[in-house]
């Protein structure tokens, strides 16, 4: 166990034994060595199997909405998760006073797919160390460079240090250039409209409509999703081109001004569909048009929930667009 894990564990035990929290949401080691699983500790004795490393890939804020509002929840949060929590508190999903956030400055999440690509699917154990990742397989031990294994969303991350936490464990890390996100959107926009559509068509074509992206997303907490709604049926629900494309467009659009670019949707996707490029576009647009960044605090309303007479007006002039 690393020193960081020990300190998280001690904090979790303290919270549970002093009754400051009803449940501590963190990670524990699962049978799948590449993917520790979310764990919900309610007993101070049971916390011992808590783990924390770069392979912890879920966005834990996802589980916030699954508890009643009066439950006191303690949660391990990284930068993106703390922003998701802020966005959820803003949307009245849980009162902030019933939350206890254990902040951890994040070194970036290791993409399990890149490990599989490098060493194959048969993995016995993974050790995440400062700059290297040591992977043990039946074929032998591999030492991989951690920087090369980082998940795409983490490479473009703008908020590695958690915001508004109750306690922060570990040393703050240096933030990255916030323009990395914009650069990706600009590069994609430069491709030309036909290439863009072709890319989108090919990506969405692989979709099997399992909705893992929805389940992994902390902001997708609707009781009934628009794709599950059958009367009226808003969109084709089969694995048809219109259904798959409609799902990806509207799923992303529902995240406008709410997405924190954690990339949990992409990591959860069994078909490895790239979809964060859609939400990245919406995030940069929200910043360019309304100077809004989701989840920086729990007070500023999202642009779509507020409106202003002085908005840029592309409707009136000449009667046609722009």
């Amino acid at each position: 166990m690393t020193e960081l894990e020990n300190r998280i564990l001690a904090e979790a035990q303290r919270l549970l034994s002093e009754n400051l929290a009803d449940v501590v949401i963190a990670f524990k080691q699962a049978d799948t060595p590449l993917r520790p699983q979310p764990a919900f500790f309610t007993d101070a004795e049971a916390v011992n199997d808590l783990v924390y490393n770069g392979l912890c890939q879920n966005n834990l804020a996802n589980y916030l909405t699954r508890y009643p509002r009066e439950k006191k929840i303690a949660m391990v949060v990284r930068g993106c998760e703390s922003r998701s929590v802020n966005a959820l508190v803003l949307e009245n999903q849980h009162p902030r006073e019933n939350l206890y956030l254990i902040g951890i400055p994040c070194e970036g999440i290791v993409d399990w797919r890149k490990i599989v690509e490098a060493v194959g699917e048969d993995v016995l154990s993974v050790q995440d160390q400062a700059d290297i990742v040591v992977v043990r397989t039946p074929k032998g031990e591999f030492t991989l460079d951690r920087a090369a294994l980082m998940h795409g969303s983490c490479l473009r991350c703008t908020q590695k240090n958690p915001l508004g936490t109750d306690v922060t464990i570990g040393k703050p890390v240096a933030e990255q250039d916030p323009h990395l996100l914009r650069e990706r959107v600009k590069n994609f926009e430069a491709l030309g409209i036909q290439t863009r559509y072709e890319y989108f068509r090919q990506e969405s074509e692989r979709c099997i409509r399992c909705y893992a992206c929805r389940e992994a997303c902390p902001m997708c907490y609707c009781e009934e999703c628009f794709v599950d709604h059958t009367g009226p049926r808003w969109t084709e629900s089969g694995v048809t081109p219109a259904g798959m494309q409609g799902w990806h467009i509207i799923r992303a659009f529902h995240q406008t001004g709410r997405c924190t670019s954690c990339g949990a949707c992409e990591r959860a996707c069994p078909m490895d569909i790239h979809m964060t490029y859609l939400t990245d576009k919406l995030n940069t647009d929200m910043y360019d048009k309304y100077q809004f960044v989701a989840g920086l605090d729990a007070k500023t309303q999202t642009p779509f929930a507020a409106f202003n007479l002085d908005d840029k007006n592309r409707f009136v002039a000449g009667g046609t667009s722009k």
Partner: protein
């Protein structure tokens, strides 16, 4: 053969003040324009636009009241932010944003809707048939969607 491009018109039911304009929209629209009346532009969900686009619309036109004149005070303001962003987003995905057009009508804009529809039709005609996102499966005879 009908070669006119398909246009979908989303029309706020409050924004046409002159009975003649309303009558024209209700009864005399060109054949290639499909009318959907909505109680307010604020009622428009991005899904409506997407449904039109996926169903083969070569152009989508949205007509509503000017910002201060909304029948419901601020329905059109929330629509403005959403639709503006949604057309940008569709453009990013691959559906030309020139094919989405907004017109906001004021009290004195009598006879304007006819001009705007004609102008937009001409523009869409010049852009040609749209292929992006035009993916809706054809309904089986007498059957429902899966």
């Amino acid at each position: 053969m009908d070669t006119a491009k398909k246009i979908v018109l989303f029309q706020c039911q409050w924004c046409l003040y002159a009975p003649e304009d309303q009558d024209w929209v209700d009864h005399h629209l060109p054949e290639n324009v499909h009318l959907t009346k909505v109680p307010c532009t604020g009622r428009l969900d991005p899904l409506f636009i997407l449904n039109a686009v996926q169903g083969g619309a070569d152009g989508v036109m949205i007509s509503g009241c000017v910002p201060e004149k909304c029948h419901f005070k601020e329905g059109n303001l929330s629509a403005r932010r959403q639709m503006d962003e949604f057309s940008d987003f569709l453009n990013y995905v691959g559906y030309d944003e020139d094919r989405i057009c907004f017109t906001w009508l004021d009290l004195q804009d009598r006879g304007r809707i006819q001009k705007d529809v004609a102008e937009f039709s001409k523009k869409v005609e010049a852009l040609g048939k749209s292929h992006a996102l035009n993916t809706r499966s054809v309904l089986p005879q007498g059957g429902a969607h899966d």
